[in-house]
């Protein structure tokens, strides 16, 4: 029988205490594994190129908020841009594609974000090299109130082609829009926020009753936005004056007024520049920087900043905390073994009388605590990853976070040697007690 086997049998003898202490270590390790798996998933989800566009244009403000709302759809949008500005962007020779997005509402069922856009959005790549495909339905939003929904929306709400649904204004309770929308297509899963999004025809989005702002408010905004561009401002004001006259006529004669371009707004514009001239993207955003009230944001950079500043630190804090939990469990192993030592003086003396050296009994006690620590670690490691496997479908559904449960971070590789060392540290004092046992005294007890 070798020392390890003897240590193992001794642990089995104190089954309950052994399994409890190993369990406490295991729980700590399990928490650490979960922190690592989830923060790893968060990190890849946010630092990978998450959109197939080079720039996002939005009103001046927080670049992070713009990206979180336009790409991840997890923040209420900021202000809007005049739709006229979209036409300007389209005319810029450096811009290959400019896709408008308008958002702010959510579905009544499941509170999925609503995005008004054009068919262009579905023709372009959503990730570099990835094009949308459809799991059911036609591919165009032809009618004003047609909608295309993401795969998660379809699954969670049980919606399919031809189903009809309502949306809430600005996500607020009780302000349901009257219009009913019809699903014309369901997107195949993409692993991005598109899976949780409901897309509407941009014209339909404008047509929703209550989406049109008062003419005075629009005028004020346009005056701000085009303060430095007298020509465009003039053109816009002319359109607005014309529209006011139409609205007056509508009240008297009933002839419906048609909202001019100046009345329309978009929340963000997705821009693709020519790939063969990468400098275009830089000069384009530099130009916007100088100009009016818009900005062009690289979709990755604010997120990377957020990752390193906030998420990275949260991860570190959680790691330190789980590390402390493991340390505390280590102390409980110490207490458990140390307490058992007085009961085991005679056992140790008997082993010595059988010819075991001091180093043998020292090694046996040390092996016991190392076994408890590494055994608990293995247990915790396995349950941590198993939990990740079990939780991953739920996590994807709830947060869109795609975790790889068996992805092993380099931190985990240091876990086992670290716990073996913890076991040795924790076992050292009890082992020393065993080493020093006075055999004759212990035998006479």
């Amino acid at each position: 029988m070798n020392l390890l086997l003897i240590a193992w049998k001794n642990l089995l003898q104190r089954r309950l205490a052994s399994s409890l202490t190993a369990l406490s270590i295991g729980l700590g390790v399990m928490l650490m594994v979960l922190v690592l798996v989830i923060s790893g998933a968060v990190e890849t989800a946010f630092t990978q190129r998450s959109i197939g566009y080079d720039l996002i244009v939005g009103p001046k403000g927080s670049d992070l908020q713009l990206v979180l709302s336009a790409v991840y759809r997890i923040q209420p949008p900021i202000e809007n841009l005049p739709a006229m500005y979209l036409d300007e962007l389209r005319n810029d020779r450096r811009v290959v594609t400019a896709v408008p997005l308008a958002f702010g509402d959510v579905t009544e069922d499941g509170s999925f974000p609503i995005v008004g856009t054009t068919d262009e959005y579905f023709e372009n790549e959503y990730l570099p090299g990835q094009k949308f495909s459809f799991q059911s339905g036609g591919q165009r939003m032809v009618q004003l109130f047609d909608a295309i929904i993401g795969a998660d929306v379809a699954r969670q709400n049980g919606w399919n082609k031809d189903d009809r649904f309502s949306i809430l204004h600005g996500g607020a309770e009780g302000s349901k829009h009257d219009e009913k929308f019809t699903v014309v297509a369901v997107l195949a899963p993409t692993g991005t926020a598109n899976d949780r999004t409901v897309f509407l025809n941009l014209d339909g989005f404008y047509a929703i009753d209550g989406h049109e702002k008062p003419v005075e408010e629009i005028e004020k905004r346009l005056r701000d936005f085009y303060a430095a561009d007298a020509d465009r401002l003039q053109q816009a004001l002319t359109e607005l004056d014309d529209y006011r006259r139409q609205l007056d006529a509508q009240e008297q004669t009933g002839t419906p007024a048609v909202a001019p371009r100046a009345m329309q707004e978009v929340t963000a514009v997705l821009i693709r520049t020519r790939p063969e001239t990468p400098f275009d993207a830089i000069s384009f955003s530099a130009d916007l920087q100088k100009g009016f009230q818009a900005m062009a944001v690289n979709p990755i950079r604010p997120i990377q900043r957020l990752m390193t500043n906030v998420v990275g630190n949260v991860q570190k804090a959680l790691m330190v905390m789980t590390g402390l939990i493991i340390l505390v469990s280590g102390v409980s192993i110490f207490v458990s073994i140390y307490n058992s030592m007085s009961d085991r003086r005679r056992e140790i003396a008997i082993m010595r009388s059988l010819g075991a050296g001091r180093h043998h009994v020292f090694g046996i006690i040390l092996a016991e605590s190392a076994l408890l620590c590494t055994g608990g670690a293995c247990l915790g490691w396995l349950t941590g990853h198993a939990l990740a496997v079990i939780a991953s479908p739920w996590l994807i559904r709830r947060t869109g976070l795609l975790i790889s449960p068996w992805n092993i971070s380099p931190w985990e590789l240091t876990l086992f040697p670290a716990l073996a060392i913890l076991g040795i540290l924790v076992g050292f004092l009890p082992a020393l007690t065993a080493y020093r046992t006075n055999v004759a005294d212990a035998l006479s007890q």
């Binding site: 029988m1 070798n2 003897i6 049998k9 001794n10 089995l12 003898q13 005679r346 056992e347 008997i350 082993m351 010595r352 009388s353 059988l354 010819g355 075991a356 050296g357 001091r358 180093h359 043998h360 055999v439 004759a440 035998l443 006479s444």
Partner: protein, 229 residues
């Protein structure tokens, strides 16, 4: 010769600081295969003597020669291993390790001697003491008498030259006392093992050819003549 004690002195340091002389033995020997019983009053130093012979205690001076080698001059590590290979010990009670089965307890006796573990011999010994059907029982599932028989089997596991038994039958019912005593004596005879046994029972002592009374050859006062360690 299995055992030879020469000029052995052993005294304990009392809690108050002064010395309590316990052993002062000029000469004591045990031939190969010889069986001797050791009688003595309580507190007379019998256990101290056995512990000194097994190397668990080191005398203040003198030599303890077992199977031709002096334990006193050995480094501790060597002495521990030498004990494993040359000396078997049976205590009065609680001889066994509770985490291990009867068979494992016997195998454990072989583990520290540095020789290869001999499963077959361990089983043979347990069968010899009548526990062939209890190999995989833990001590808590064995009667006191059975435990003591396992201890006897284990003490012989390394084919020692010397068996030391400290009141091995004191805690056992009279019927079993005789059985265990016979077991110890017979197996020692069969394996040519010298036996030194402490007992308080005259009935048991009378079966031995050689009866030693500790006070007759032990003179603790000799400790005062030499410097105590």
């Amino acid at each position: 010769m299995s055992l030879l004690l020469q000029h052995v002195r052993k005294s304990y340091r009392q809690p108050e600081g002064d010395l309590l002389p316990v052993l002062g033995i000029e000469h004591f020997e045990l031939a190969r295969g010889e069986q001797a019983v050791l009688l003595g009053s309580s507190g007379g130093g019998k256990t101290t003597l056995l512990n000194t012979i097994s190397g668990i205690l080191v005398p203040d001076s003198g030599s303890v020669i077992v199977d031709g080698r002096d334990l006193v001059s050995m480094p501790e590590v060597v002495r521990d291993r030498y004990r494993a290979s040359r000396i078997g010990i049976v205590f009065q009670t609680f001889n066994l390790l509770p985490a291990f089965t009867a068979l494992e307890n016997v195998l454990l006796g072989m583990t520290f001697s540095g020789r290869t573990v001999d499963q077959a011999f361990a089983r043979e010994l347990l069968e010899r003491v009548g526990l062939g059907h209890r190999l995989h029982h833990r001590p808590s599932r064995l009667s006191v008498g059975e435990q003591q028989r396992v201890a006897v089997a284990r003490s012989l596991a390394n084919r020692p030259v010397l068996l030391l038994a400290d009141e091995p039958t004191a805690n056992i019912d009279p019927a079993n006392q005789d059985l265990i005593l016979r077991l110890i004596r017979d197996t020692c005879r069969d394996h040519q093992v010298s036996l030194l046994m402490v007992t308080h029972s005259m009935e048991a002592a009378e079966q031995f050819d050689r009866i030693e009374r500790l006070h007759e050859f032990n003179h603790p006062e000799l400790c005062h003549t030499g410097a105590a360690r």
